[in-house]
């Protein structure tokens, strides 16, 4: 049989395994095997590519793979579960950069040859450079924002959209020039430079609670870049897997937008929380809160029979997930029913809370999604909110002038008692005041979540 046919059939096999692997990742019981299966698919694709006869120098390739594997494995083992959003952002950026480099490499190879640059290949190549570069710099800005190297909020300046539009037009012009005159390297490097710049400029205005959306969207971009590279090389396996990742990222983006009642366009235009940060001090003084001590908290828990815990990013920051699990086990031993209410955008990326609680050994069937648990708050004796703020803000339902008005939130205020574990009265990530804290049934447990909850657990044990 022709060698090329063998190669193509193996790519087909690899694509099938990718699809089956992703399908298996949709169920908690089979997800781990699904991930492994997709890794096998990747290995097969790499293996058969190495058989390709145009490949002459294996030494460099193996050295390259070795270096890359070492770096990847090191970070994968080292990263903390709280830092998963940063990790995904970095890996996204790396993937985007790889697509860009492949495309530029292909350009360097073909643009001097006599047959010159084919029109469709040229377009695919430019898309690959464009999206790859935007993914690369955009992901690193997202990383810097999440990591706190850069101000987490929205960064806007006057005429921002106009500047972006002009740069985009120049870039399109440079793309057209590259197609007309592929020999002139100036044009493609202009495209490259402007795409890198646009990646920075389009992500800096997005901030605050919109971060999970950006992470999902960049995830989608990295897939689209891979698919475009597939068109450059005429390789189906790249197109198929790129399309799978691209659509997966778009779906996650849609879910995130829906959970925040925001349109994708308004997220991309940025500026979230801007109006709220301008004058929050006035309203914060209007809210009179009631403080509660650890002993009293322990007593309230002891007399409860239904407890719902609402975790937020603050729990991750305080590393309180392990003590929360201890609290859950202790309460269950006392025949108190404990559940966790997970808001879709709690944390900094989709499903972030689930991973953190899984790490702390909380069984996943204890975690209940918002739609399922929202009616149960009226039967709940104590609702413990740990480091969550915007996702429990009743203003989203009652105050039409609030920036988060219309966003679906957890109905925590329906519980008999609400206890909020919080470091201080500071506003949430979106920079909006929360009138829940002033409600009659709401008690504030100030202090670091980990240390206060540790004392609460000891108190309950001593009862």
């Amino acid at each position: 049989m022709d060698k090329n046919i063998v190669i193509q059939l193996t790519y087909l096999l690899s694509s099938i395994l990718f699809i089956v692997g992703i399908k298996m990742m949709g169920k908690t019981a089979t997800a781990r095997n699904g991930n492994a299966l997709s890794a096998v698919a990747m290995l097969i694709a790499v293996g058969i590519t190495l058989v390709n006869q145009s490949i002459l120098s294996y030494t460099e390739i193996f050295v390259g793979i070795l270096i890359g594997s070492a770096i990847g494995a090191y970070f994968a083992q080292k990263v903390e579960m709280t830092q998963m959003p940063e990790m995904v952002a970095i890996f996204n950026g790396v993937g985007g950069a790889a697509s860009t480099f492949v495309a530029i490499s292909e350009y360097a190879r073909v643009h001097q040859s006599p047959e010159s640059l084919d029109f469709t290949i040229g377009i695919s190549l430019l898309i690959s450079v464009l999206i790859g570069s935007v993914t690369f710099t955009g992901s690193y800005i997202a990383f810097a924002k999440l990591k706190g190297i850069m101000k987490g909020g929205s960064i806007t300046f006057k005429g921002q959209h106009q500047v972006n539009a002009i740069l985009f037009l120049i870039m399109i012009l440079a793309c057209i020039m590259t197609l007309i005159d592929p020999q002139n390297e100036l044009f493609i490097y202009t495209v490259l430079f402007l795409s890198l710049l646009l990646g920075v400029l389009t992500v800096i205005p997005i901030g605050g609670a919109d971060m999970p959306v950006v992470i999902s969207l960049l995830n989608s971009y990295s897939g689209i870049a891979a698919a475009a590279t597939g068109f450059v090389l005429g390789n189906q396996v790249l197109i198929i897997t790129g399309a799978l990742v691209g659509s997966s990222g778009i779906i996650l983006t849609q879910i995130m937008c829906k959970a925040m009642n925001r349109s994708l366009v308004s997220v991309l235009l940025g500026g979230f929380g801007q109006t709220a940060t301008s004058g929050p001090s006035a309203s914060s003084s209007d809210i009179v809160v009631k403080e509660v001590g650890v002993e009293e908290t322990a007593m309230i828990f002891d007399s409860a029979s239904n407890v719902i815990i609402v975790p937020g990013y603050g729990m991750a920051v305080a590393q309180a997930q392990h003590i929360v699990r201890e609290l859950m086990e202790l309460l269950e031993k006392k025949n108190i029913n404990v559940k966790f209410a997970i808001h879709p955008v709690a944390g900094r990326m989709p499903g972030h809370m689930n991973v953190l609680l899984a790490e702390a050994n909380v069984p996943y069937d204890k975690l209940v999604e918002m739609e399922q648990i929202n009616d149960e708050f009226s039967n709940c004796d104590v609702c413990l909110i740990i480091g969550a703020n915007d996702v429990v803000n009743p203003a989203a339902k009652t105050n039409p002038s609030s920036p988060i008005y219309g966003m679906p939130v957890l109905n925590v205020e329906k519980s008999r008692t609400v206890i909020v574990s919080k470091r201080s009265m500071a506003a949430g990530y979106a920079g909006i005041e929360n009138e829940l804290f002033g409600a009659d049934n709401c008690l504030m447990l100030f202090g670091d979540a980990k240390s206060t909850l540790t004392t609460v657990v000891t108190e309950i044990k001593n009862m």
Binding site: S38, M87, A97, A243, L244, L252, I255
Partner: protein, 97 residues
């Protein structure tokens, strides 16, 4: 690229996008983070492109090869890191005993 090849590749693109939509819309929120890092690893499929770009005899285009090798290292970081970190997460998801 001939028009026929292009059309076939476009079919592949569109159909696999639909398959992707079908597969992912059923994934429960619990699994969104591992799914994201897993699909992130999958987008490292560019590694195939990187190998093809760095493999051939450099000849008159040493730049192409160097760029290909950089792409190869980056894509490998993406693939290996992405799969390992997803596996680490998925290992932790347990049902109540």
């Amino acid at each position: 690229m001939t028009a026929e090849t292009l059309i076939i590749l476009l079919y592949v693109l569109v159909l696999s996008t639909f398959v992707g939509f079908e597969l992912i819309s059923k994934v429960p929120p619990t699994l969104h983070t591992p799914l994201m890092s897993g699909s992130n690893a999958i987008s490292g499929i560019t590694i195939v492109g990187a190998i093809l770009a760095s493999g051939p005899d450099p000849g008159a285009f040493p730049i192409a090869k160097i760029l290909g090798l950089i792409a190869l290292i980056l894509a490998t970081v993406n693939v290996v890191g992405g799969y390992l970190v997803s596996d680490r997460m998925l290992k932790m998801f347990k049902k109540k005993k």
